[in-house]
């Protein structure tokens, strides 16, 4: 019994660690900011999911009752990662970061940069 629990937890940990490493290698190797944004927000979040599930299984086995704290962290990370990625992409558009030459729809960068909040006059029409 203990062997199988340890095997399952070890496999989940190794999968999680692999995906976290893939995310960081992508962050350091990819050519421009918009491609770099993909690696940590997807691969690292998936790797964290693996590590948190491993921790959940181990703690449930060790303590003898269901341990669900880790699910809270996983849920929080899965909610906040896309929000952070969206904010970072908006920041990069606003700061006019260097983009790859073959990036499509580059004319939209100017539009996004000049985006304004709706004025009071428009709202009262």
């Amino acid at each position: 019994m203990t062997f199988w629990v340890e095997l399952l937890v070890s496999i989940l940990l190794l999968i999680g660690g692999f995906f976290v490493l893939v995310g960081s290698v992508g962050l350091s190797r990819l050519p421009d900011f918009y491609t770099r944004l993909h690696a940590p927000t997807k691969a690292t979040t998936l790797g964290m999911g693996g590590i948190l599930i491993a921790s959940m299984i181990l703690m449930t086995y060790e303590q003898g009752y269901l341990s669900l704290h880790e699910l809270l962290i996983a849920l929080f990370l899965f909610i906040t990662a896309p929000v952070t990625a969206h904010m970072l992409a908006k920041t990069a558009l606003h700061q006019e970061n260097r983009v790859l030459k073959r990036t499509r729809s580059q004319h939209l960068i100017k539009t996004a940069r000049e985006q304004q909040a709706p004025s009071a006059a428009d709202r009262h029409e």
Binding site: L13, G16, L88, K90
Partner: protein, 89 residues
């Protein structure tokens, strides 16, 4: 077996943190640096959880949850500062 797996994954996470640190230092723009910091706090949450698994205690989850919340808030605050020149308008 579990302890050696925890050691191997800790080594992998340290390597990932070094790669993030390299991007943090050499990132050409501010948004690259914010992204590197964001990834670094997520990786450090993983390291804290691994230490909690190594000593078989649930004491470190609260610390990990706090780091997750404060890291998210700080990333959003830095982005807001770069976007609007102000954090709370």
């Amino acid at each position: 077996m579990l302890d050696s797996a925890i050691f191997i994954v800790s080594g992998i996470l340290c390597l990932a943190l070094v790669l993030n640190l390299w991007r943090l230092m050499s990132g050409p723009d501010m948004s690259d640096r914010i992204l590197a910091l964001d990834t670094m706090y997520i990786n450090s949450i993983a390291l804290i959880l691994l230490y909690g698994m190594y000593v078989r205690t649930g004491l470190y989850f609260e610390a990990a949850l706090l780091i997750a919340m404060l890291g998210f808030v700080s990333s959003v605050a830095l982005c807001k500062y770069l976007l609007r020149g102000d954090i709370i308008e």
